[in-house]
């Protein structure tokens, strides 16, 4: 038995044992950073979990070199729509954004919730409300690039800028 298989079986046994008395939720955030050996072990273990009380949730950046490549369902994340963007900006900033601002932010962020939320917390209330010139919003792209450089590098959009 190879080391890889031993590690996988051990991981499987630990997960199954942990879920014997109560259902288990295993959350791996930033799963793209899992080292390859651990990723393979976890991957093989989860493949073999069938009727165990285990939920495995991975949160990751979709990099080219996925280290955990299991049969993971990936819920569709279409991005926020205009209504969501307006609600989020209002909730975060207390300002009702103008239609032009919503449109611009949607364009700049592709509706990425984290990007919208962060932008809404920036101190430019008059711009959000449409009371100040849109010129002030032009740095949005720079802000997005600086703040979300990693996200944009991983973006599936071909026109990432």
């Amino acid at each position: 038995m190879t080391d890889r298989l031993i590690l996988s079986v051990a991981t499987l046994a630990r997960l199954a044992a942990a879920a014997e008395d109560r259902p288990l939720l295993l959350v791996v955030e930033d799963a793209h950073r899992v080292d390859p050996v651990s990723g393979r072990a976890l991957n093989l273990a989860v493949w073999r979990l069938l009727a165990d009380h285990v939920a495995v949730v991975l949160a990751w950046h979709p990099t080219a070199a996925d280290r955990i490549v299991g049969p993971w369902p990936r819920p569709s994340l279409p991005g926020l729509n205009a209504d969501d963007v307006a609600d989020l900006i209002t909730a975060e900033s207390g300002v009702q954004p103008s239609a032009a601002v919503i449109s611009r932010i949607l364009d700049e962020t592709h509706g990425k919730a984290l990007a919208v939320s962060t932008l809404a917390r920036r101190p430019f209330d008059p711009v959000l409300a449409g009371a100040a010139p849109m010129l002030i919003t032009l740095p949005l792209r720079d802000v997005a690039q600086r703040t979300f450089a990693d996200l944009m590098r991983c973006s599936p959009h071909a026109d990432r800028r």
Partner: protein, 91 residues
């Protein structure tokens, strides 16, 4: 709140968390479904991509799982060595 993929997830959250979860209804429901599968004895695995506000989603999910009396194991790997510096029989 605009919503996609069904109604509001059946968990209670604080107003701050609710704010940060605006527009994530679809993924919230998918995560809850995975938790429910586990509670029912069906292993579930799901991957959530970055940009959905994954940290707040994970916090919310853990709270929801606690409410379902689930055992929680949470990990957040950090970027380090891309691979161990010694030979491995698996590579």
């Amino acid at each position: 709140m605009g919503a996609a993929g069904g109604g509001e997830p059946a968990t209670s959250v604080t107003s701050d968390v609710a704010t940060r979860l605006i527009g994530r209804t679809a993924v919230q429901n998918a995560l809850l479904a995975a938790s429910d599968d586990a509670v029912s004895g069906r292993t579930a695995a799901i991957a959530v991509e970055a940009g959905a506000g994954k940290t707040v989603l994970m916090e919310w999910l853990i709270d929801a799982a606690v409410g379902r009396r689930m055992k929680i194991v949470a990990a957040r790997p950090v970027e380090g060595e891309p691979a161990w510096p010694w030979p491995s029989s698996s590579t």
